[in-house]
Symmetry: C2
Subunit: 479 residues, 2 copies
């Protein structure tokens, strides 16, 4: 029986324990908000990134790698950007025993590192669209409570795609492509999410508009796991990124960015987990199938050789399989692999060896089936599909049951007190009313549903000013 009591009622503790005990990260590194990636956690993250690289290749993004240090002079070129970030960057001021002539910023994101180079690289319309990305470490001096994978001072696996386009329409096409890439990735992770267009006061510093993708965590708070920004020509003007049009005239490029990070892993762990620990989608599990031999006195040889046969067969079929030969009791091993979220466990005892059967235990539903040796590979593959579907549907149900539409502040308050996730409220569209609601609800406005057409409402009133509501606005307590 799947239990999710601690998972939902004491999520913060559950999450920290899983991170530590499953070997994802070690939080004891002696700098606040900076953690050590352990082998198992890093493997999962790299499997997630494999899909990102694949999507980038499919959509003709080129991978690049920029320095992590940005001269103060470059960092300060776009006024809104610097205003948004200067309070939360780390400064390199000295080298060896000497002060630096120009102080260096540890990148909090790479716009200001990249765009002076874009100005050199982009010359003509033939260079557009220009699409690059990198996965790097970035740094933010978070003053809020830090939390592994979620709010950190060193984001170790920051994905950022940066594109340049001839016009606004092509930049808009890029945003659509980003959403498609994001959706493909979410399918691989079996995660359900919503996209919101951020309010003006919560845009990315320097953006024309920002989109954010959110999931609802077990405690009802939302986690932003992806962002897409259309910069229009804001940065292009600050960094002088001009291109020559076909008619010989020049214009600034339009730019977009798309960002993700190890929060993807946080979402996977949180959304799919239960009281026994992680439940990994087979798509990204470093070990998809673990074999636990359960020999009895006298049957050791048969059981181990049968287990090895099965291991070999699964390996040949391209399945990531591990045979657990540790000198521990089976119950201890079950506990350990359940914690680590291995999607399928195979138990092999003397009877299985004799009858050529295999017991498959699925991690998601905690159910077992017995299959014959011949159908093993097919059944395992089927099980993977079933698990993906089950995880996705459960995630979708969770998300949908945590989005509620109400008409009044009071109803919204009640929902937040009950940790019900995202609350949708009619809104006149005025910043003043939006901020007022944020204050009253002790929540953030995620924005309006995207695409904007889906956010329009009629016949509703803004609960703050009483005027006609133009949009549905989403609010949540956020990570």
């Amino acid at each position: 029986m799947v239990e999710r009591k601690k998972w939902s009622e004491n999520f913060s503790e559950w999450f920290n324990e899983v991170i530590e005990e499953a070997g994802i990260l070690d939080k004891r590194y002696p700098v606040k908000g900076m953690n050590v990636w352990l082998p198992y956690g890093l493997k999962i993250m790299k499997n997630i990134e494999k899909f990102i690289h694949e999507e980038m290749e499919r959509t003709d993004h080129q991978e690049v790698l920029f320095p992590a240090l940005i001269p103060e002079t470059e960092f300060q070129k776009e006024a809104e950007h610097i205003a948004g970030f200067e309070g939360e960057v780390f400064w390199v001021t000295h080298a060896g025993h000497e002060p630096l002539d120009v102080r260096l910023v540890l990148r909090p994101t790479s716009e200001t590192a990249m765009y002076s180079m874009f100005a050199l690289w982009i010359r003509s319309h033939a260079d557009l669209p220009f699409k690059v990305y990198q996965i790097v470490n970035v740094y933010r001096y978070e003053t809020k409570h830090t939390r592994p994978l979620i709010r950190v001072r060193e984001i170790s696996r920051f994905f950022e795609a940066h594109t340049a386009h001839a016009d606004f329409e092509d930049a808009e096409r890029q945003i659509k492509e980003d959403l498609e890439i994001f959706d493909n990735l979410m399918k691989k992770l079996a995660i359900a999410y919503v996209i919101s267009k951020r309010p003006e006061w919560d845009k990315f510093p320097g953006a024309y508009y920002s989109l954010g993708a959110e999931v609802v965590m077990p405690d009802g708070r939302t986690l932003q796991i992806g962002t897409m920004h259309n910069y229009k020509q804001n940065f292009a003007k600050a960094y002088n990124i001009l291109y020559e049009k076909e008619d010989g005239t020049h214009d600034y490029v339009h730019q977009t960015t798309f960002g993700m990070s190890e929060r993807l892993l946080a979402a996977v762990i949180a959304i799919h987990g239960d009281d026994r620990g992680m439940v990994l989608p087979p798509t990204i599990a470093p070990i998809q199938v673990v074999i636990v031999p359960i020999p009895k006195k006298g049957s050791e040889e048969e059981v181990y050789s049968y287990a090895r046969e099965i291991e070999e067969e699964l390996k040949l079929a391209g399945i990531r399989v591990h045979l657990d030969l540790r000198d521990k009791r089976p119950g201890w091993k079950f506990y350990d692999w359940e914690l680590k979220g291995v999607p399928v466990r195979i138990e092999v005892g003397p009877r299985d060896a004799a009858e050529k059967t295999v017991v498959l235990a699925r991690r998601d539903k905690l159910e077992k089936i017995t299959v014959s040796r011949e159908e093993l590979v097919d059944k395992v593959r089927e099980l993977f599909d079933d698990i993906m579907q089950y995880l996705y549907e459960r995630a979708k149900e969770w998300l949908e049951s945590h989005i509620k539409r109400v008409d009044t502040i009071e109803e919204a308050k009640e929902l937040f007190n009950d940790r019900r996730g995202i609350v949708e409220i009619p809104w006149c569209g005025e910043e003043e009313c939006g901020l007022k609601m944020e204050e009253e609800l002790e929540a953030k406005m995620l924005g309006i549903p995207y695409p904007e057409e889906s956010a329009r409402v009629e016949g509703k009133k803004c609960p703050v000013c009483g005027r006609e509501a133009k949009f549905i606005a989403r609010f949540a307590r956020t990570y």
Copy 2:
């Protein structure tokens, strides 16, 4: 005809041009010694790293990822290490608008980041040997002339393996394993090298002894492309890394490290190149075969469809192939792909399409052969093997012809004036004499040949003090 005139006579300029024109790095980033990795360069480097990851997996090293920032308090625990590095590290002193309580070092290497965690992780003999590695960005405030891939302030792709062992013997076994890993990697890169045991005064700060792997560059200077260090218990004592032995007593672990970087790519570019540009080993070439269609008026359709057939067949065979459909003349394309070092070029004209033949041009020897369509895949694979062998043999010949053994300082000086690479000189083993030779020769002592047995000499005199020489010592002008 392969020409290596500019390559050898004006290597520095040749190297910079190739780096820039082949799309490896962009040096125009506005921080000295920090460069932008371009897509093609990054792909080659990642292909090199694939082999590193494979070797790490084969030898049971686990991949980890540590923060890039180290608290000053941790950084200062091992006296020799801090003495060796404090003059060349970047300091993070401020965050937001405030000074930090504890200053942070941008890692120049990760001993001082890792070892306080090792002390938490390693408990008993059952945890040993303990073997981890990471590939990360590290920072050194180089005051010498910087040079892309070779001497940089941001090493973007720093590989570092760190191990802990129960005793000195097991640490020595690790060094042997590192040498084996390194040799396997060098075979994949077709690079010939020598290993030297560094003199006491040039050990890694904190090491008991250091080994270095060198290649001889086209201008006769050597480049260190790998290092292995045995730390004995030096760091274990500073970071209190103790383990419980089987008998219940405790002892400090013995440690080793193994380091490499993007200098591997520098070596590949330099060692295999010629006046037309890079020559990539097929093992790491992002594009192993490029197809250049050479249509004539009226034959376009046949030629392009034949080219596509060939592309498809090679792709199916698992070969990294690219069909160049750019609107440029074939000669321009040849030049471009030769510069980029693509190992095999296929030229497809109307006659090839009609007669079902294929012209294969190999980049290394600049020779062409015509093969029939049916034998294409086999011939391409054969060619890859031939190219690997040719490149390796040429590299080996180059190396061997650039190591000369002499008895006197005068002979050594002459060789250095003639840029003859590594000079081996008898040495009594005293630091004073070694330093004296370094000074006279305006060269560095790389160390003595490794293993040490191969460094012993008899019946020779140290040219400085005239006493009996114990070793052969290697000298070179180095990068």
